[in-house]
Amino acid sequence: MKFIDEYQNSELAGKLAHRIANCSTKPIRLMEFCGGHTHAIMRYGIRQLVPKTVGMRSGPGCPVCVTAIADLDKAIAMAHLPGVIITTFGDIVRVPGSYSSLQQAKAEGADMRIVYSTIDAVEIARVNPKKSVIFVGIGFETTAPTIAASIIKARREGIENFYVLSLLKLTPPIMKALLDLGEVRLDGIIGPGHVSAIIGSHPYEFIPRDYNIGCVISGFEPLDILLCLNKLVEQIEGGKPKVEIAYPRGVKPQGNKKALELMNAVFETNSANWRGIGIVPQSGLRINKKYQHFDANRAFEVSLESAREHKGCRCGDILRGVATPLGCKLFGKVCTPEDPVGPCMVSSEGACAAYYQYGASYE
């Protein structure tokens, strides 16, 4: 398939890895922000391909994983409201909340439907005019404009029974929060490709300026990732950290202006609650006043018991890059993809799911 196959050439990959090995003289630790990168790195065996000096740590770039348990509890409570159809993307339905999950809510009679796109959720609202259709909006900047577009579409077409519970989160503020925490020494960041397709590369300029480390935006095929690693290693060895785009076929420095315009038309920034990290100011998106009719937070009230984290689950530490899944006692024993304890094992982008699926023997 075009723009996929040519970036999977194993002969070139081997040569690139060789080049990285030639260039890398000191041990470094990089963070791949995006869960999609974590899975690609494992799937293509990139950790085994690059020299041992190049260490990699997963970051918080898995929207399902970083959804705070209290927010998930709220979505589950909304699913139980009479006359409500709750819609969401697939991964989150199996994540255990404090007391239940969306999947369990469905088993108990809630009308919960998995959708591929917000377009489908709006359509469900259109054909069920007597029901309130709530879309549980998880995601980063990649997804935020699509949710904005669906809200604008619902308004334009007079679909007043469509609501969004916005749990959207922003990438640069959480990168800053992690760097400020300083729990893990990082020498560079593998920047998220599709978040950056929307926001561009400029919002990361604070990383080399304030933290003296580089950020190279990467695509998701093995050659994309190796090119990104090559650039980061060269930056580190040369002592010149900067923001670079190693995925220029998908990312422009200015991002996608139309997508940003729609996102800004519907949302405003607010603080967001991140699993394992807590409340981070200006790191989330809520629906603004102009579109407040569509805000599920405003339209529905639910009473919640206090959130309860699962004992022993280290998803929070893993999302901050402090631990790898192998550092969790539950990993692969009590917590498996069939019977997950935490979101990092549920999500198709979760670090635990990646370690479980592709094997953990390389560490």
Binding site: M1, K2, G36, T142, P145, F220, N256, L262
Partner: protein, 75 residues
């Protein structure tokens, strides 16, 4: 969540486009990429084209990869 795949735009009607990848067709929204034209490849994410793939840049990247690989052979 942030998964996006490059699909080819087959036809356009209003703010929707018929797209194709590996013989599979999907009707996508192009509300976020109004500049897209038939024959372009777009990054498809949750039913929306979130960006148009830059073919010239794609070729440049492949060229760069070949160059880096050839330097690696010399050493």
């Amino acid at each position: 969540m942030c998964l996006a795949v490059p699909v080819r735009v087959v036809s356009i009607e209003g703010d929707e486009a018929e797209t194709e990848i590996g013989g599979v067709r999907y009707r996508a929204s192009i509300a976020l990429t109004p500049e897209v034209m038939v024959g372009d490849y777009v990054l498809l994410h949750t039913g929306y084209a979130i960006g148009v793939v830059d073919e010239a840049e794609a070729k440049e990247t492949l060229k760069l990869l070949e160059e880096i690989a050839s330097v690696s052979e010399v050493h």
